[in-house]
Subunit: 492 residues, 2 copies
């Protein structure tokens, strides 16, 4: 019998009969994304209250919860924005506003987009842009790359989600697909594994050794993972989010060998490749390490991700990124093309900014002096901020923080008083979440609790971005310091 | 025992051991998207061959396979592009290039994006843009709308995929989730149902009655659907893609009542709402019909989709669109917010173009005269093209085509000679696919076979866009006519 509504033709209009939670995809309900969770939501609300004139003991909310540099005052790179504006309105090329290299690049880009950024591009991105990405990778690594292996996407997030979707055999009833993810992790990974019904196999980064990745720990983690899943891939975020570490070359070689040993696809989240501040650290791509180690496309499978949202561009809102496939059989690549085809293409604006990122002005180009100055100033300032953040955090009671080698974050450990932990447990809140909410309410400083990124059980952390202006960093850290002083007095 | 590679530490570099087709998500392999399938691929290849100087019996490929007006020469609306370029490079506001309303709007938009389009916006889109969308909907329908129910996305496709993902309980072993989809359909629907492991319940549009939707047919389809799935939603594309019909108000009322009767979520793909050419047809939104019929958010669940890629803007590459939720409980809306949060936000460029679409210049605004002229010219020309296409198709042997009331396509039926059908079956190709490939090879005209959209078994069609320049339409149709003459002679 068909389940019809009674009397439906004379529609009983009062009965509530819309979609219910039990009617929808249960995976949807498991998704959580802390960087935009309850604490950032409350921060927006407080900001509105302040505008409305509510009295608080602080004047503004400082958003240290998102790696969004322009939100905190960083200026965009002129070169990229000039090209984007000229591509959007080519009539501007007649106004003698732009340097000649911007004009030339705009013409090349427009040609590659069939004369208008309003046309769909190829599904994996314009061939011209993919060629520029290819040259960038070749120059970076000293190894060949192939534009057919480049997929341009609306930010790295959508590339990462696409690959996780593709790797997870969600409908295999016998055993779930396991994806090894570092803990602490960027919550896109846990959110996407919930979304696609994959199993997160946590491996713990070694906080005592500046968040390095230990061979014995990944061996322990996969042994554990095999008891509840079929491990399929290993995620590495380098430089680390939220942990700020830069992996050593030797550490990377170990990871590559480990992936080969267990036939894992290595997913290399390398969106912070331009954000290295520590003079003793250097960024190497996993592709280079894989090739240096003698592996080939027949013996190793790797996907690496990059983005315009971080580095010195920080064009978060434009949504541009790419992934490079390595070791993918043609039929798998073809399947991915079909997947992206149904979305038609990624945003041409994102493709344009990506192209300007991977193909920047070089010496003697008219745009080079301004570009060079902007880039250096941004990276120098981020270096100063990382040092200031680290040194000020080190002075605060109840906080211990590793050196910030790269990326845009510190992930300090909180050593909370036992009474505070008990108090927050009475409130049924994870202690670090309770701490962050109190910090926000009392100081206007918005940081994200470590529990949103996962952490070693029994430890507590928060993630704070290093990107506010230097003066704000001092004020923020002074607020946290006062807050902790008070908290330790109150709960000792 | 753990499945390790033997001798992995001394890595056997010769053995091919990368990811295999059997290792990946089987749903991925089922995805197909005809608008970018084998025929359009071959068309790109032929275009390259022509550029390389290969001799063909035609001079250029005419791409009638994608609803991409700017690809075929349509100019973008100046108002939107001026705002986009100024938002990208606000320094332009100092150059006295733009009308004052463009300057004012740019400033408002920049403020809503925290002063830079390089910042992440709210996950569901900037509040300012969602407010503009809300006002547009209110004005269109004469009913209230709520900015909290608006989600701005990278084109309508990603909104549609998000909702299908959310509705499909893919891991329910007992019974699959069924989604009723019109046949012929836009292949995004079949591709997404493959992607998310849902079940497509086809209902056939009535070709004999200008592709209308008959009550008895949807009743038949759902009765059938219940035998293999749990029907959850019904998709309507109005104006129709690929069919070009505009539903009558009365027909829409029947659909609404049907959805209420079976507690189906109505998914209203209304991206062609500005593309109505037939003087006897008029676009009504399903939201208006639902509310006119006396239903409320307690008694009806609806999602409607709109896009900047169609209409008179046709900004396909910019990727902007929105969905409006109706009748969604707060906890479901919250779950969708989490889903979009993990992608951070949609492209700010898409949001800007969307805002300019839903909030166009009005009389007495400095941009109004140009805007009005551009809009009218585009829509007038599309009307002429739809009439020309319909009348010329009607003169071709073996082709019968309904009136093109709206959208950007004709979907003529092909009455192929029996011998041709037998011949193509020998080649193991669907007859219409074989026809379209031959047509492409011999004339350079690229159309998409009806089998890519699904069609009534035993019938054959192709989809052709009405958007080439008028002169090209004449040439294209003359090529098809000659081709059919020859084909009917050869295979009679």
């Amino acid at each position: 019998m068909l389940p019809k509504n009674q009397d439906s033709e004379s529609a009983d209009m009062e009965e509530s009969q819309t979609l219910d939670v039990v009617d929808i995809n249960p995976c949807l309900l498991n998704i959580d994304y802390a960087c935009r969770g309850s604490i950032p939501s409350r921060a927006s609300q407080i900001q509105k209250e302040l505008i409305q004139g509510d009295a608080k003991c602080f004047k503004k909310v400082v958003q240290c919860n998102l790696g969004d540099c322009q939100l905190l005052g960083q200026k965009p790179i002129t070169f990229g924005r000039q090209i984007l504006s000229a591509c959007a309105y080519p009539e501007l090329l007649n106004h003698n506003i732009f340097p000649s290299d911007v004009v030339d690049r705009t013409k090349l880009l427009l040609k590659s987009f069939n004369n208008s950024i309003g046309c769909y591009s190829e599904s994996s991105g314009s061939e011209f842009v993919r060629n520029s990405v290819t040259k960038y990778i070749q120059k970076r690594d000293g190894y060949p790359a192939d534009p057919n292996n480049i997929f341009i996407t609306n930010g790295a997030s959508s590339a990462i989600k696409m690959i996780l979707y593709s790797l997870i055999k969600a409908y295999d009833n016998n055993i779930m697909t396991g994806i090894m993810v570092p803990v602490p992790q960027y919550p896109l990974y846990s959110a996407s594994l919930s979304e696609f019904n994959g199993k997160l196999i946590p491996y713990y980064l070694n906080e005592a050794d500046n968040w390095s990745l230990s061979k014995s720990e990944i061996e322990r983690a996969i042994t554990d993972g095999f008891t509840f899943s079929k491990p399929k891939a290993l995620v590495v975020i380098n430089p680390g989010n939220p942990t700020g570490q830069v992996l050593s070359y030797q550490n990377m070689v170990e990871i590559v060998k480990f992936c080969h040993k267990y036939k894992l696809v290595l997913l290399a989240d390398e969106v912070y490749q331009h954000n290295v501040y520590d003079k003793d650290s250097k960024f190497f791509s996993f592709k280079k390490v894989v090739l240096d180690s003698g592996f080939t496309e027949n013996t190793f499978t790797l996907v690496s991700f990059h983005s315009v949202s971080k580095g010195y561009y920080s064009e978060c809102g434009i949504r541009g990124g790419y992934m490079e496939l390595f070791g993918f059989k043609p039929e798998l690549r073809a399947a991915l093309i079909k997947l992206v085809s149904s979305n038609l293409c990624s945003s041409t604006s994102g493709q344009i900014i990506l192209e300007s990122l991977v193909n920047p002005p070089v010496e003697h180009d008219p745009s080079f002096p301004v570009f060079h100055e902007e880039k250096s100033a941004i990276l120098d300032e981020l270096r100063q901020k990382s040092e200031l953040m680290h040194s000020l955090l080190g002075e605060i009671i109840g906080i211990k923080c590793n050196k910030i080698q790269g990326a845009l974050y510190a992930f300090p450990q909180l050593f909370l008083p036992q009474k505070f932990i008990e108090h927050s447990e009475k409130e049924s809140k994870p202690p670090d979440e309770y701490y962050c909410m109190k910090l926000l309410e009392e100081t206007g400083v918005c940081v994200v609790p470590g529990s949103g990124f996962r952490q070693m059980p029994g430890t507590h952390h928060f993630r704070i971005t290093i990107i506010p202006p230097l003066e704000d960093i001092k004020n923020v850290l002074s607020s946290i310091s006062d807050f902790n002083q008070k908290l330790f007095k109150e709960f000792s």
